[in-house]
């Protein structure tokens, strides 16, 4: 009772607010529970869905394979499923500080090779599946993973370049970062999608997925560069002085002393950027790639199932939320650990 007095009814305005919120909850939660659970249709029966009052989760039951795996051959779904599990496993494995050793990159190379074999096939008796047919969750995860993997070293170079004493290098880095950060991602995706083929000799085509991946890499590099720059600035100046005093050459100095500290400081901001990047992969829908959001949208196109957009996007929200919230938890835990 005392708790209630302090936390809910501490003063007259607060009491009014509490009562108002309780009234709002009373008005919205029971109808929502009716819609989402009690009146909902869970079987993949679209007639029952249309006849019913509640949510049509049967839509998800019917379409979940397409949503998760895209147009990958139906009978081979175990392959993208395994690939997804391995990729998630790699990320989780890398999240533990104990595993931040030199052999981690080898683990990744090996893991990605296995994923590549699973997805493309063509060896070990597995049927070849061209990457135009990849889609759904694995595509979102692959775009994120490769995007970050290649953007990261690039962003370190950009961050160092931005602090360089050589005006040309500094100018180029600043120009690149400000340009990329000043324009929407969609314009970069358009640029890659439309312009890249124009600059190639006729007859040579770049895979659409690759074009999108390049755009995402260039995009991420600029944002990560700013985060790393923050980390570089946050290192006490004494560290730079000490490193100079030891007469270490630039790259030695940077790789052994400066970068490890800068990156450690920057981890929370880096993870926040990773989360944002993961969410940004949903934009490839606009240039016609079949990421997770795209498959959700396309599954609504079937005439029998149009009109259940609300259910579809609630489902999509929950999927993304699970991943992003997990990463966000991790980031907060990291901050406390320090």
């Amino acid at each position: 009772m005392n708790w209630a007095r302090k936390n809910l009814f501490a003063s007259w305005p607060e009491t009014v607010v509490t009562l108002l919120i309780l009234w709002l909850i009373w008005k919205t939660v029971p109808p929502f529970i009716d819609w989402a659970f009690l009146d909902a249709v869970w079987r993949p029966d679209q007639k029952a869905c249309r006849a019913g009052e509640g949510a049509c989760w049967g839509f998800i039951a019917e379409k979940h394979r397409f949503i998760l795996f895209g147009t990958y051959p139906y009978e081979l779904h175990w392959r993208p499923l395994a690939a997804t599990a391995i990729l998630i496993g790699l990320w989780v494995f890398s999240a533990f500080r104990a595993n931040w050793k030199w052999w981690l990159s080898l683990v990744w190379v090996f893991g990605l090779a296995v994923i590549g074999i699973l997805m493309w096939g063509g060896v070990f008796g597995m049927r070849y599946v061209e990457n135009e047919r990849w889609g759904g969750l694995i595509l979102t995860l692959l775009l994120t993973t490769f995007g970050l993997a290649f953007a990261f070293p690039l962003s370190i170079l950009l961050a160092l370049g931005r602090r360089s004493d050589m005006p040309v290098i500094r100018g180029l880095c600043v120009g690149y970062i400000e340009l990329i950060r000043g324009v929407p991602l969609i314009s970069l995706l358009f640029m890659a999608s439309v312009m890249l083929p124009l600059f190639l000799p006729s007859g040579v085509t770049i895979d659409k997925l690759l074009r999108a991946q390049i755009a995402m890499i260039l995009f991420a590099a600029a944002y990560l560069a700013e985060v790393i720059r923050g980390g570089l600035q946050a290192i006490p100046k004494g560290q730079y002085d000490a490193a100079h005093a030891l007469a270490l050459p630039f790259w030695r100095r940077t790789c052994l002393i400066i970068l490890p500290q800068a990156l450690r400081i920057a981890v929370p901001a880096l993870v926040n950027n990773f989360i944002a990047f993961f969410k940004d992969t949903s934009l490839v829908l606009i240039i016609g790639l079949f990421d997770l959001l795209s498959t959700v949208k396309i599954s609504l196109n079937e005439p029998a199932w149009t009109g259940f957009g609300v259910e579809a996007y609630v489902f999509a929200s929950l999927l993304y939320f699970v991943f992003c919230a997990a990463m966000s938890r991790y980031s907060k835990g990291f901050e406390h650990q320090r």
Binding site: N2, R5, K6, A10, S11
Partner: protein, 242 residues
């Protein structure tokens, strides 16, 4: 003026105050001292409810402090506090710092509040700084402004939480001088400090705390020349030694 009866306070599992009894009469000046961690800051912050006590009773000018926000408000209007880190409002000028509370809490008209403010600024001997910002003043000046700010509310009782601990040595005197003057004018004061000179000059009583308890309480003459407990003796030898 202040009555503390068997007051205990915990921070989580750590007990900061153990059944402390203390009373301060109107017009009395009480100095609270002791080693760090003894609970003296916590004790003084109970008086205007910046900290809450879990057991025992705290009564200020007849009003008992409980969770009741109205009572807390009442007490805070009558009690002025000066902090170790001054806590002046950096985005306001000195004059605005002083008139803020009277205007918004006591509904004093602006003009009158400004006059009162200038009066107290003169009392603390820096009337010319009225339109400056706190960051432009020295530490000693800032603390004197803080004292004036508290005085503008015309409190019945003034609390000082280590008012000179954050000052450079050459500025301690100017602040202590103001406090001595205040004391001589009859203000009821409760002061947490290491400045034993001040205690000798002005205090009616010295309260020595250690480990969350009041270990010894006596008039300064008695306390400084003939401390009764060993802990008090140890403390005095450390503080007065240098």
């Amino acid at each position: 003026m202040i009555e503390m009866i068997k007051v205990s306070k915990w921070f989580g599992l750590f007990q900061a105050l153990k059944e402390v009894d203390l009373s301060v009469a109107r017009g009395e000046k009480v100095v609270v001292c002791g080693p760090s961690g003894s609970g003296k800051s916590t004790l003084i912050r109970l008086v205007n409810r910046l900290e809450e006590h879990q057991s025992g009773r705290v009564i200020v000018d007849g009003v008992e402090l409980t969770d009741d926000p109205k009572k807390i408000d009442l007490v805070r209007r009558e009690v002025g506090m000066v902090f170790q880190s001054f806590n002046l409002f950096p985005h306001l000028t000195v004059l605005e710092n002083l008139t803020l509370a009277p205007v918004w809490v006591q509904q004093v008209p602006k003009k009158e509040a400004a006059e009162t403010a200038m009066h107290f600024l003169a009392r603390v001997r820096i009337p010319e700084q009225a339109d400056k910002y706190p960051s432009q003043l020295s530490g000693g000046q800032q603390q004197r402004v803080a004292i004036a700010r508290a005085l503008c509310m015309k409190p019945k009782l003034m609390l000082f939480d280590e008012p000179t601990s954050a000052l450079d040595p050459e500025m301690i005197k100017e602040v202590l001088d103001v406090m001595v003057e205040l004391a001589r004018e009859g203000m009821t004061m409760m002061v947490v400090t290491h400045e034993m000179g001040f205690a000798k000059t002005v205090a009616d009583r010295v309260v020595f705390m250690d480990g969350g308890r009041v270990v010894e309480a006596a008039p300064p003459a008695e306390f400084f020349s003939a401390p009764r407990t060993d802990r008090a003796k140890l403390f005095l030898s450390q503080v007065l030694g240098h």
